[in-house]
């Protein structure tokens, strides 16, 4: 087994670990905001490590370049999607985005 194959295997294992963390976290956590946090390992660890394994295996071929593009897309879209989802959840629960009266977190004076 060459060093090349070991690197590919390690990157694949790391990526799968990220997805397993996400899958287990989504099932275990009951609070919505905790579930949104558990979207991150899939899109940040898994979606970078597995395309990296493709690039190590194939080099910068057509497949490698597109794998990098997929990794960049998922990496950039995850924070935006998490923010939009959390915002939608808050607006649904509180009927508005700004802090409601008597809510227990810092509110600006003006």
């Amino acid at each position: 087994m060459s060093i090349h194959e070991i690197m590919v295997g390690a990157l694949l294992a790391l990526g799968v670990l990220g997805f397993v963390i996400t899958a287990v976290g989504l099932v275990v956590c009951d609070d919505l905001y905790e579930q949104i946090h558990f979207l991150a390992p899939a899109s940040l660890l898994g979606a970078v490590a597995i395309p990296a394994a493709v690039v190590v295996n194939d080099g910068f071929s057509q497949m490698g370049a597109k794998a990098i593009l997929i990794a960049v897309l998922l990496f950039l879209s995850n924070p935006i999607l998490s923010h939009a989802t959390a915002r939608a959840a808050r607006v649904r629960r509180k009927q508005q985005l700004p802090p409601v009266h008597g809510e227990d977190f810092p509110v600006s004076k003006d």
């Binding site: 899958a23 099932v27 898994g46 979606a47 597995i50 493709v54 649904r92």
Partner: protein, 81 residues
């Protein structure tokens, strides 16, 4: 090795599936986003496993569509649904 990884990713879909079955409406959106990320990478791994470089366009366009659909669903859940 690549097929084994694809199978492991397929197994990971159980988490979002359970969330979509038992969660409330916004939790189901979270499950959809997680499932989207998993499926994009699974398709990429399958392309690599079967040496079909031409099909990498499928996960690439799916990644774009998952992003757009997540934003649209979030906006709809916020205002109208």
């Amino acid at each position: 090795m690549w097929l084994l990884t694809a199978f492991a990713l397929l197994t990971c879909l159980i988490g979002p599936l359970l969330l979509c079955i038992r969660g409330d409406t916004v939790s189901r959106l979270v499950g959809l986003e997680a499932a989207g990320a998993i499926i994009v990478i699974m398709l990429l791994v399958l392309c690599e496993a079967f040496h079909r470089a031409i099909f990498v366009d499928v996960p690439l366009s799916l990644a774009l569509l998952t992003f757009g659909s997540g934003l649209v669903f979030a906006r709809f859940l916020e205002r109208w649904l």
